[in-house]
């Protein structure tokens, strides 16, 4: 069975919503991210095996978003494409599915990705108005039409914008996390420290040119709009809490240690070793394996964003690996507290025994190996684009570290998603083996 490798990536700088990309939709951003990737790897007018990408906030007109983006890109129009959607794990699922196709020999190359915009979000008509319009379409006579039309109530005319509330609980993601944060007793300082580390890591990576071959400027933006290189614990500490204010415990989640609504798109180039060699490309990291998990958050049995804790445990078990075998951790920072809750859970003997069925806890994550080039708190989090950002960033980091140390390097990714979902993935780089 051939291996599937991450060969590179490209994303546009992420922008805070209603900022630099306020007038731009998902399709245009995804097309730009693909075009930058195509230019970097000299693939213009060429056919790639398949492209899979998606968006979480998606217009109904974008029912074939990825294929439309391919048609608008520099790729050959004969490149097939399909849409994927798994909330914030969309990008991960796209990478995973395409890697499997490559490993099965069904594809030799692929592009995975995702785009999301909170600025150009779909606004829909109310359920009442929608029913009346459909009824009107079915009406065959004038009296029937009139009957349908008069049923429209003034309240039906109010448009509905999407929000981040869970459909089954009505709670926003932040409020859900606030409950988990309180349950695990995560304090404010720890969250602010994690946010600070994210900004510093990302800023430093930009400064040393790490993103020169991962990011292509777009619409005047050369770096992520959310990045605050000069932030400090003092500045972060002054922000007022925004989530969990109705809980008994002191609210600790602020705009500084939570991800903002963000616009952006990201892509990852995947391929078999043979395809890479034919194109003069260096395989950065092998896609080793991945695991999805879901938790019952509706009854309150588990926290909404805790599913990756389970996915990671199962994945490492299958691969017979422990945290000591991991050189770099990429834990998506939906909120600083999400990361800290996961770290605490993996260290908890009780949790690991009761919930994960482990004899011993997974243990502590070495913080010097965690999100070393920054993560979503600094870069922002355009939902479907985050997976692609993380996979490409980690693959490059692993390859560089392997080339420098002369040893294989292994990385673990953990991404939480709405609906109580979570995906974990292991990548491995061995620069010596090519």
């Amino acid at each position: 069975m051939p291996d599937a490798y991450v060969l590179g990536g490209n994303r546009i700088p992420f922008a805070r919503s209603h900022g630099a990309y306020a007038q731009i939709g998902n399709r245009e951003m995804l097309t730009a991210a693909i075009d930058g990737l195509v230019a970097r790897y000299g693939l213009a007018h060429q056919e790639v095996g398949e492209v899979a990408a998606g968006a979480v906030l998606k217009h109904s007109r974008d029912f074939n978003l990825t294929r439309e983006a391919v048609l608008g890109s520099a790729l050959a129009p004969t490149t097939p494409a399909y849409d994927v959607q798994q909330a914030c794990a969309t990008g991960m699922e796209a990478v995973w599915g395409l890697s499997n196709k490559i490993r099965l020999g069904q594809l030799d190359s692929a592009i995975a990705g995702g785009a999301d915009t909170a600025s150009d979000a779909p606004i829909v008509v109310s359920e009442g108005l929608r029913r009346r319009i459909l009824e009107l379409a079915r009406a065959r006579s004038l009296p029937q039409r009139l009957a349908a039309a008069v049923k429209v109530r003034p309240g039906d005319l109010k448009p509905q914008a999407p929000d981040t509330a869970e459909p089954r609980t009505g709670l926003s993601m932040g409020e859900h996390q606030a409950v988990t944060t309180a349950a695990w007793g995560i304090d404010r300082t720890a969250q602010d420290e994690l946010a600070l580390a994210s900004h510093r890591g990302l800023a430093d990576a930009y400064d040393r040119g790490f993103f020169d071959d991962l990011v292509t400027g777009f619409r005047g933006l050369a770096r992520d709009g959310n990045l605050r290189p000069d932030t400090s614990l003092e500045k972060l500490g002054k922000l007022a809490p925004v989530f969990g204010r109705s809980l008994q415990e002191e609210a600790s989640m602020t705009a500084g240690n939570s991800t903002p609504l963000t616009d952006g798109a990201a892509t990852v180039l995947l391929g078999s070793p043979d395809w890479a060699a034919e194109h003069g490309l260096t395989p950065l990291a092998r896609v080793v394996d991945a695991q999805v998990a879901a938790v019952d958050f509706v009854t309150g049995e588990e926290g909404l964003l805790m599913a990756p804790v389970y996915a990671v445990s199962r994945l490492l078990d299958r691969l017979d690996l422990g945290f000591a075998d991991i050189d770099y951790f990429e834990i998506h920072e939906a909120f600083a507290a999400t990361v800290l809750c996961a770290l605490a859970a993996w260290e908890s003997e009780e949790f690991c025994r009761e919930r994960l069925g482990r004899e011993a806890p997974l243990g502590a994550v070495d913080r010097s190996k965690l999100n070393v080039n920054g993560s979503s708190l600094a870069a922002g989090h355009p939902f479907a684009a985050t997976g692609g950002r993380i996979v490409a960033t980690l693959a490059k980091q692993l390859h560089a570290a392997s080339a420098e140390s002369g040893r294989p390097q292994r990385g673990l990714i953990s991404v939480c998603a709405a609906g109580g979902l979570g995906v974990a993935m292991v990548l491995e780089a061995d620069a010596a083996a090519g």
């Binding site: 730009a32 075009d35 930058g36 195509v38 230019a39 970097r40 790897y41 000299g42 213009a44 007018h45 520099a74 040119g209 993103f211 020169d212 071959d213 990011v215 292509t216 400027g217 777009f218 619409r219 050369a222 194109h279 003069g280 490309l281 260096t282």
Partner: protein, 444 residues
């Protein structure tokens, strides 16, 4: 780009008004289009003595009708006047006057190429005077001709005969529509260039200074691509969007890189080597301006212009020569500027960098010869780009008319000159700076 004045003047009413008022009357230049490379006609007049037989044979082989004496009322698409045998200023007279007789018969968009010899410090004063005189004659004829015609000189080094293969490539360029905006310029041709191995087709990185895909950099990429090159394009990450667009247009590879980084040349060699193979052509289109009167100049403005426009090129050329990633006959071309020749008020930093380029290529010629290659510069004059469109209207209008062709050039005029220097035809041309300026009065 729009030159509304030139458009107006080329209408019947506009032409009459301009004639009556004594205004400049720029002719629309006949530029290269695929399949339209040729002279405005087949009739070529060859004047002079030495080497004209072999020269005529070469032109006949290219399908021209060759005439040896100016006929009254005859029309010529081109005139080649050979002064290479002149030993004394008195020897110039006959061919010069013959050329004068032929001028009235020169077709619109016609070409005059004067052949001479480059001067050398050891020349006898009389010989030196004669050789220098040829260049002055050429420049005056370039001012004199009208209707889109041009006059340039090829200075053939000792041992290079007018009909030789070494001279044939540069002669073909100057006789073609590819040199439409090159006027009043001397170009020296050395021996041995044409016998070098033929590159498999030019390819090489290009540093784009203009954004938006309509500038000189994009034109150079398109030209090299049409000439068969696979192109690696380099620009700073902040300009990545436009870079990717041009790269995808020509099926090239985009490399986001700060060329002032210490290892920029090595990284370019690495990527080019892995993706495209050996580098046959490298074009330095580096160009930033940070204009300020020298009296008000600060360190940042001075340093950034010198770093990007000049120091980066020196370092990259050194690293590429050492990289082992160059083809058998590498061709390097740098973009200089007429500002580097004449200087420009408020551009002391830019002029220093561009004059530096001219010095650099002259000094590097020997090193590149050792690698089987050539290194040259192209110095554009006023070119119609987004950059010049942003100039104040009156300044722009003056700059645009201040040359013998009374108009600005287009990006492809520069790209054609780069393409020529990057081609097999220019094997005998090295260490030189070719101006593409319509014979600008600035620094002439």
């Amino acid at each position: 780009m729009t030159d509304s004045y030139a458009r107006l003047i080329n209408t019947p009413v506009g032409a009459r008004a301009a004639r009556a008022l004594g205004l400049p009357r720029p002719s629309e230049l006949r530029r290269y289009r695929p399949g339209a490379d040729a002279l405005p006609g087949r009739e070529v007049l060859v004047l002079g003595d030495a080497g004209t037989d072999s020269l005529a044979a070469g032109l006949l082989a290219r399908g021209c009708s060759v005439y040896r004496h100016p006929e009254p009322r005859a029309a010529y698409a081109a005139v080649v006047a050979d002064f290479t045998a002149a030993q004394d200023p008195a020897d110039l007279q006959r061919t010069a006057l013959d050329l004068g007789h032929a001028l009235k018969g020169l077709a619109a968009h016609g070409r005059i190429v004067v052949l001479g010899r480059p001067g050398a410090p050891e020349d006898e004063p009389g010989l030196a005077a004669a050789r220098a005189g040829v260049v002055g004659l050429m420049r005056s004829v370039a001012h004199e001709v009208r209707r889109g015609a041009t006059c340039n000189a090829l200075l053939l080094a000792d041992g290079v005969e007018p009909g030789s293969d070494d001279a044939a490539g540069p002669l073909a360029f100057l006789l073609s529509t590819r040199s439409a905006y090159v006027n009043g310029q001397p170009l020296t041709v050395r021996a041995g260039g044409a016998s070098r191995p033929t590159p498999t087709g030019p390819r090489g990185p290009d540093r784009r200074g203009d954004r938006g895909g309509a500038g000189i950099g994009a034109a150079i990429v398109r030209r090299l691509s049409r000439d068969g090159a696979r192109v690696l394009l380099v620009d700073v990450p902040a300009a990545g969007e436009a870079l990717a667009a041009v790269a995808n247009e020509v099926g090239g590879v985009a490399l986001q890189l700060d060329i002032t980084a210490a290892d920029a040349g090595r990284r370019i060699a690495e990527v080019a080597g892995a993706r495209l193979g050996p580098i046959d052509v490298f074009v330095h289109n580096a160009g930033i301006t940070r204009d300020k009167l020298l009296a008000n100049m600060d360190e940042a403005r001075w340093a950034s212009v010198i770093a990007v426009n000049l120091s980066a090129q020196l370092a990259i050329n050194r690293q590429l020569l050492e990289s082992g990633e160059l083809g058998a006959a590498p061709r390097f071309v740098s973009l200089a500027s007429t500002s580097g020749i004449a200087g420009n008020r408020g551009q002391s930093n830019y002029a220093a960098s561009k004059a530096g380029i001219i010095g650099m290529v002259a000094a590097e010629a020997e090193r590149f010869a050792a690698a089987g290659g050539t290194v040259n510069a192209v110095a554009p004059g006023f070119i119609e780009t987004e950059m010049t469109r942003a100039m104040p209207a009156v300044t722009r209008e003056v700059a645009r008319r201040l040359n013998s062709l009374q108009q600005g050039g287009v990006p492809d005029d520069v790209a054609q000159a780069v393409g020529f220097l990057a081609s097999d035809a220019a094997g005998g041309v090295t260490g030189q700076t070719l101006r593409v300026c319509g014979q600008s009065m600035v620094g002439a």
